[in-house]
Symmetry: C2
Subunit: 120 residues, 2 copies
């Protein structure tokens, strides 16, 4: 585990904002100004592969990164793009039953309007 890998992991674990690679890069530069974007992406890939970090695929927007807590889904505000965690368990059996197929994985993006945007 290199210094840059640790910085990247720490940023993700310390953040509740589901940062994008770009945001992680900006935060990492504050700790280590010489760090390169390529390094951030390479380490994100490695951390995701090792299971230390979870990748959130956001359709038509940069991916976000999260710590791998208890499995949960992501609510994305249609208006401002903010991501909120939400627990949904027992979805896999429902999907398998409804499709009749042996689903090995699913990616779910839920869209809503967050409270802040609702009150605008």
């Amino acid at each position: 585990m290199t210094k840059q890998r640790k910085i990247i992991k720490d940023i993700i674990y310390a953040s509740y904002k589901h940062p994008t690679a770009e945001e992680i890069f900006e935060l990492a530069k504050k700790k280590m100004p010489s760090i390169a974007v390529g390094t951030v992406y390479r380490n994100l890939t490695l951390l995701v592969e090792s299971g230390e970090v979870r990748k959130i695929d956001v359709p038509n927007a940069p991916s976000r990164y999260d710590r791998p807590q208890i499995p949960h889904e992501h609510l994305i505000c249609k208006n401002c793009g903010v991501v909120k965690d939400v627990m949904i368990d027992g979805l896999m059996p429902i999907l398998k039953e409804k499709t009749g197929e042996d689903i090995v994985e699913y990616k779910l993006a839920l869209y809503y309007v967050c409270d802040k945007c609702k009150n605008l």
Copy 2:
């Protein structure tokens, strides 16, 4: 409705392969060699907005396009990437209930291994 828009729409409606923009472009060139990629993308956006075509977001892969039949989900083969339609209804109320939020839209990508790939 321009000639190129009609060609693009017809390709999608005639295909059972959920083509990507690139594939649509290649097929369209056979009907009209002068057509430009930009035109394909612009028309796809328009057709999706008008509801005549449905866009399938595929994480880490080009988007695919589909005719807007009865709402259905998409099974993506983890191995070869082929997309198969599958009916799942009554999912929205389950998601609303499980999250306790007013979900306005969801995008679900289901991964499996298709029969062809299973037999390799």
